[in-house]
């Protein structure tokens, strides 16, 4: 009973946009797969820290372990617990839509974080908070092209791409951005092949080993994140192939180090701490009745060997 009242109150506050946030709000989050890489782990830490720092927020932090069924169950649980808002980091951008609709129908605002859901679900979410992944892909293409121009091979270079997990919106958007932008800036560069590396360094290393067997001439590698980029770099190094331009995304500490060592050319600077804090803030703003853009992007700039001094080394 007490709980219902509280939820009702929170709803009212949200609806009438009263700025009085004296009432504590319960915000539930279900993450994709914590522990699979540093980004997701750092994100979780940052989220918990941000929630604890805010006395008005109670956070329920769940992890789907990469399993769609488990994530759907967690969304159901959060709806059942009548939390005030739900933040979802989708395991599959389409499979979660019915569950999101259920939350929407129960009057609970849903914020999607990090990787968006498919467009069919846009009616049921309040906001997406995260990086603009299409822009990240195009920026990576620009970095790659600028480097080729410096090296004077912009008319003959051959590129392979190692994309993220298939079906995962971030992976699709980054690939889309890269695929579209590269021919615009460097029309004579050939994209030879694209294979998924599943956000996994080992898998990416295997994919790159295969590329090296199949293609004698590779000048550039675009990887969907630095974790995979480093896997590809390891493969090239083991095979003794030099002079390849590596460009990634989501600059990891290990990518930053490799850039410093001169082995890795560039990436996109994206902080999981910003990502987590932005998601929480978006949810809080919505509950406080503030206007929030539907696509709430935080900026993710280019980072290369040339300008890396402007950035601190990533913590993950």
């Amino acid at each position: 009973m007490k709980n219902t009242m509280k939820a009702a109150l929170a709803c009212t506050t949200a609806m009438f946009g009263s700025a009085a946030a004296a009432q504590t709000m319960t915000i539930g989050i279900t993450q994709n797969n914590v522990g699979v890489d540093s980004y997701q782990t750092t994100y979780e830490r940052a989220f918990i820290a941000a929630a604890e720092a805010n006395p008005d927020v109670n956070a329920i932090v769940l992890d789907a372990g990469g399993d769609v069924a488990r994530q759907l169950a967690q969304i159901e649980d959060l709806i059942q617990q009548q939390v005030d808002a739900i933040i979802i980091w989708p395991t599959n951008g389409e499979a979660v839509i019915p569950a999101v609709r259920r939350a929407h129908n129960a009057g609970i605002p849903v914020v999607v974080t990090n990787s968006n859901i498919a467009e069919q679900g846009f009616d049921f979410i309040s906001s997406f908070s995260g990086p603009d992944n299409v822009t990240q892909g195009s920026r990576a293409a620009e970095i790659m092209c600028e480097r080729f121009t410096e090296l004077g091979i912009e008319d003959e270079a051959r590129v392979v791409q190692i994309s993220g997990q298939p079906g995962y919106t971030t992976a699709i958007e980054r690939q889309q951005g890269f695929d579209e932008r590269l021919p615009e800036v460097c029309p004579n560069v050939t994209l030879v092949a694209t294979q998924p590396g599943d956000w996994n360094r080992e898998r990416s290393q295997q994919v790159m080993e295969a590329f090296l067997i199949q293609y004698d001439d590779i000048d550039g590698v675009y990887a969907g994140d630095d974790n995979m980029g480093i896997g590809a770099l390891n493969a090239a190094r083991a095979a003794g192939r030099e002079g390849i331009t590596f460009v990634g995304a989501t600059n990891f500490a290990v990518g930053y180090d490799a850039m410093e060592a001169g082995d890795y050319w560039g990436s996109i600077y994206q902080s999981p701490v910003d990502d987590a804090e932005a998601a929480l803030q978006t949810a809080i703003d919505i509950l406080n009745g503030e206007e929030v853009p539907f696509l709430n992007y935080f900026d993710t700039p280019k980072i290369t060997q040339d300008n890396m001094g402007d950035f601190t080394k990533p913590v993950f």
Binding site: V36, D37, E209, I213, Q214
Partner: protein
């Protein structure tokens, strides 16, 4: 095919089926693509099979002893993460023995549960698969583990260097295979492993300490996992927590392909190595032929079934199963 069952020739084919299949594969792929038998390609395949191979040798001991080990993938992640973390904290010279000790401790725990407490190995190692993953995440805090100074450490020797042109992982794989093959075939311990797996009950009556032998097989397996973790860590000098995920079933496939019976009591290190190489060369050959990776899954399926079928058909003298 029907006349095959009663003829000597057929028996020989069936008994050495795995080797013959291997030879046919190599010849077939070589005819499709010359590059397949290039020396650098062959050495590349063996090098990338080394980690799986080392683990498979250890699991061969467990399987001959009549048990299973599904925890090796998870345990390999643990070893890799631990040695990478300790590398920067206490230096590689201490990190390696410390990692071996911790991995062996896990192996001893499993060996104790399966050997002395006689718990079912499938479920114990399934439970440990999950528990060790939790342990790894606790150790690393869920973060990727990377060696800070990648160019200034001799630790990369095991995974990346060459001695007289031969990659070190291949040398380690070959050396370990040779030593453990000797242990299995030439020592009293090896004979006891076969005895325990072949007929646990009889082994107990004939005075062989079943519990201790089973315990030891898990120590061997854990030791091999530690070596694999060392190779993995040294190869990439950094790792995710999930690096070994799913390898347990690949390892088991290689062991089965090598003809070890899951009932225990049969199998050899040499044949397991052949099983590992077959998997490696199939993957490489299909890749060079331009086929997608999932074709490899289906080919592996067919080969496992055919290899095991020929093996048991030779033993019972009939191609088709006698069960009605």
């Amino acid at each position: 095919m029907t006349g095959l069952t009663r003829q000597n020739l057929g028996t020989i084919v069936a008994k050495q089926g795995i080797l013959i299949a291997f030879a046919l594969f190599m010849i077939g792929f070589a005819m499709v693509n010359q590059r397949f038998i290039a020396l650098d390609n062959i050495s590349g395949v063996i090098r990338s099979s080394a980690i799986l191979g080392v683990m498979a040798i250890g699991v061969t001991f467990v399987v001959i002893g009549g048990n299973l080990d599904l925890s090796v993938g998870s345990m390999m992640s643990f070893s890799t993460i631990v040695v990478l973390d300790l590398h920067d904290k206490i230096g590689p010279g201490l990190a390696i023995p410390a990692m071996f000790a911790l991995t062996l401790l896990l192996g001893a725990f499993i060996g104790f549960l399966v050997g002395y407490l006689k718990l079912n190995s499938l479920i114990v190692t399934l439970g440990m698969l999950s528990a060790i993953h939790g342990l790894t995440l606790t150790w690393s805090g869920g973060k990727n583990m990377d060696i800070a100074d990648k160019s200034g450490t001799w630790f990369s020797f095991f995974g990346q260097d060459r001695i007289m042109g031969i990659p070190v992982p291949i040398l380690i794989f070959a050396f370990l295979a040779a030593v453990l093959a000797m242990v299995l075939s030439r020592t009293a311990f090896g004979r006891k492993v076969y005895a325990v797996g072949g007929n646990g009950q009889a082994a107990t009556f004939s005075g062989i300490p079943r519990a201790r032998i089973v315990f030891m097989t898990y120590l061997v397996s854990a030791f091999c996992v530690a070596v694999a973790g060392l190779l993995q860590a040294s190869r990439s000098l950094g790792s995710q927590n999930t690096v070994g995920q799913g390898m347990e079933l690949e390892v088991l496939a290689a062991v089965i392909l090598g003809g070890a019976s899951l009932m225990g009591g049969s199998g050899t290190v040499f044949k397991t190595v052949i099983g590992v190489l077959i998997l490696g060369f199939i993957q490489n050959g299909l890749l060079l032929a331009g086929l997608d990776f999932y074709v490899q899954y289906m080919v592996t399926w067919a080969i496992i079934i055919l290899a095991v079928w020929l093996d048991i058909a030779a033993k019972r003298g009939h191609l088709w199963s006698p069960i009605a």
